[in-house]
């Protein structure tokens, strides 16, 4: 857990401080034009790619994009999921039925497929567009979680007791239901982060996500060209970055989940 938090903190720091710590310009520069596909060396620790760009610098700047896109899209998904889930859970009846059928329908299509179809129809997207896309396809599971939780909480005796002191449904939601949702959302958000990072990397690798020259861990790998075995450094380092991030985030998510286990919910 400590290692995981440490890894994540380092990555976030790298992403934030990218311009300060990257040894080279992550984009093509004229004077580096002759340094194509160089293996790792003292001046290029992670080597260079087919456009003579320093892979280390690209991985560092890629952290910005990859982590930023993941965080923003998860935040969007969380907001949407919480809003839809809470509305369905609180309103019940036909509102609930409609919301949940939409969720069922969207969940019945694999997310990757849904993303591919959407990208194919919209064409290549800006970074903001990718955030939107990942967010819009990631909220369904969360809305189900939130809805279940809300419905459970609404029937709890302390909610009845609050109503008996004159609280409106809105008062009850703000005072008793929303705070109780925080652990659930935290866990769901962290685990979603772990799944959305490779998803964005995959899309970018296929050329459907973040477009070169903006670096993302996915499209750095695709810059290895047609014979990635010859330029292993271009594939290995961004790949390692993805694996480390996902492992770290997943570990944190699992730990949070254990802590927020509903059976232990009585202890704040």
């Amino acid at each position: 857990m400590k290692v995981a938090i440490g890894v994540l903190l380092v990555l976030v720091f790298v992403a934030l401080a990218a311009p300060a710590i990257a040894p080279h310009d992550p984009r093509v520069t004229p004077e580096s034009a002759l340094e194509k596909n160089l293996p790792p060396s003292a001046s290029h620790l992670f080597g260079t790619d087919q456009y003579s760009r320093d892979v280390l610098s690209r991985v560092i700047f890629g952290a910005r994009v990859s982590l930023g896109v993941a965080a923003a899209s998860v935040l969007l998904a969380l907001t949407l999921g919480a809003a839809v889930g809470a509305a369905a859970g609180l309103a019940g009846g036909w509102v609930d039925a409609i919301c949940m059928r939409i969720v069922d329908a969207m969940l019945s299509v694999p997310r990757v497929l849904l993303l591919l179809v959407l990208v194919a129809t919209t064409g290549t997207l800006s970074v903001g567009g990718i955030v939107l896309l990942l967010g819009l396809t990631g909220w369904m599971g969360m809305s189900r979680l939130v809805r279940g939780e809300v419905r459970l909480l609404r029937e709890r005796e302390f909610v009845m007791a609050a109503r008996a002191t004159g609280a409106s449904e809105w008062n009850v939601f703000v005072a008793h239901i929303l705070p109780a949702l925080v652990p659930t959302l935290l866990v769901a958000g962290t685990l979603a982060l772990a799944s959305v990072i490779p998803l964005e990397a995959g899309l970018s690798f296929l050329g459907l996500g973040v477009q070169s020259p903006t670096a993302s861990w996915g499209n750095i790998i695709s810059d290895a060209g047609e014979r990635p075995g010859d330029v292993w450094w271009v594939v290995l380092f961004p790949g390692l970055a993805i694996v480390c991030t996902v492992l770290a985030v997943n570990t944190i998510g699992e730990r949070l989940r254990e802590r927020a286990d509903p059976r232990q919910r009585l202890v704040p």
């Binding site: 005796e157 302390f158 008996a164 002191t165 705070p179």
Partner: protein, 272 residues
């Protein structure tokens, strides 16, 4: 709030019915119950488990579980207004302020992740108190009045850090925060130890003397009835089978069911 002159009548329930939607049609849990409570009076609603006591309480508060419905002919006149005819906003204003409820299970009727002081203060905030600080101070004062020592420190505790009796005092503080005219106490001592039960009953009696509130005490325990109440309503199968002063019920029960209930109470001596 309209009061009818000097009429001491506080609550007048007419023909109250409550049914629950079940798999095989509606089930009538409360079937045409009528009774009244005068200002300052303590009335017991007695009966075995499942006879509809708690359903009556929830219907009076209009805090219904899903699937429950109140009969169309039912009337609940409280301080001159028919509660069943009020809109939700007007009802919310009465709940907690004029008409309050003490719940049965102090362990589950408090939010486990909220400081008890905040839960008591919330009642004041819901009924017009604007300053959080003032609400908190009032909550601490109320907790103190319910006999919680060091209330200013204990208000910062969470429910699981308090004993059962202490939690029940918190619930009582919540109910009495706005000085209601009528408190419905649903088995307020059932979940507590015998010694703590006596303390809570004493507390209720003292607070009643102080504030002049009326209490509708729901219980299955005739010991509690004898301790606290002047009049008892005996309920069975959703109907009230006897409505009489407590003395009369104990010494000359008119209804065979009441007599049966009484004989089920263990006695220390046979000649009572």
């Amino acid at each position: 709030m309209t009061m009818i002159g000097a009429d001491p009548m506080l609550l007048d329930v007419r023909d109250l019915s409550v049914s629950y939607a079940g798999e095989h049609g509606a089930v009538r849990a409360v079937d045409g119950v009528s009774f009244s409570v005068h200002a300052g009076e303590t009335v017991a609603l007695v009966g075995e488990s499942g006879c509809g006591k708690t359903s009556v309480a929830f219907a009076l508060m209009r805090v219904m579980s899903p699937g429950a419905s109140i009969g169309a002919a039912s009337r609940v006149i409280f301080e001159g207004a028919d509660l069943l005819a009020l809109d939700e906003r007007a009802m919310r204003d009465i709940r907690g302020r004029r008409l309050a409820m003490i719940f049965q299970e102090p362990a589950s009727a408090l939010n486990p992740v909220m400081k008890v002081g905040a839960q008591v203060a919330e009642v004041a905030l819901l009924h017009g108190e604007r300053s959080k600080k003032a609400a908190w101070d009032r909550a601490v004062g109320m907790l103190d009045r319910t006999g919680i020592a060091n209330a200013d420190e204990r208000a910062h505790l969470y429910p699981h850090e308090l004993s059962g009796g202490m939690r029940q005092r918190v619930l009582i503080a919540m109910a009495l925060m706005m000085q209601p005219a009528l408190v419905i106490a649903d088995e307020p001592t059932s979940a507590l130890d015998v010694t703590v039960q006596a303390q809570i009953l004493d507390l209720l009696r003292d607070l009643q003397k102080e504030t002049g509130m009326a209490v509708l005490l729901i219980t299955h325990d005739f010991g509690v009835v004898a301790e606290l109440c002047s009049r008892a309503l005996v309920m069975r199968g959703g109907k009230i089978v006897e409505d009489a002063p407590v003395d009369e019920i104990f010494h000359a029960p008119k209804n065979a069911y009441t007599a049966g209930l009484l004989s089920a109470v263990p006695r220390l001596s046979a000649d009572q």
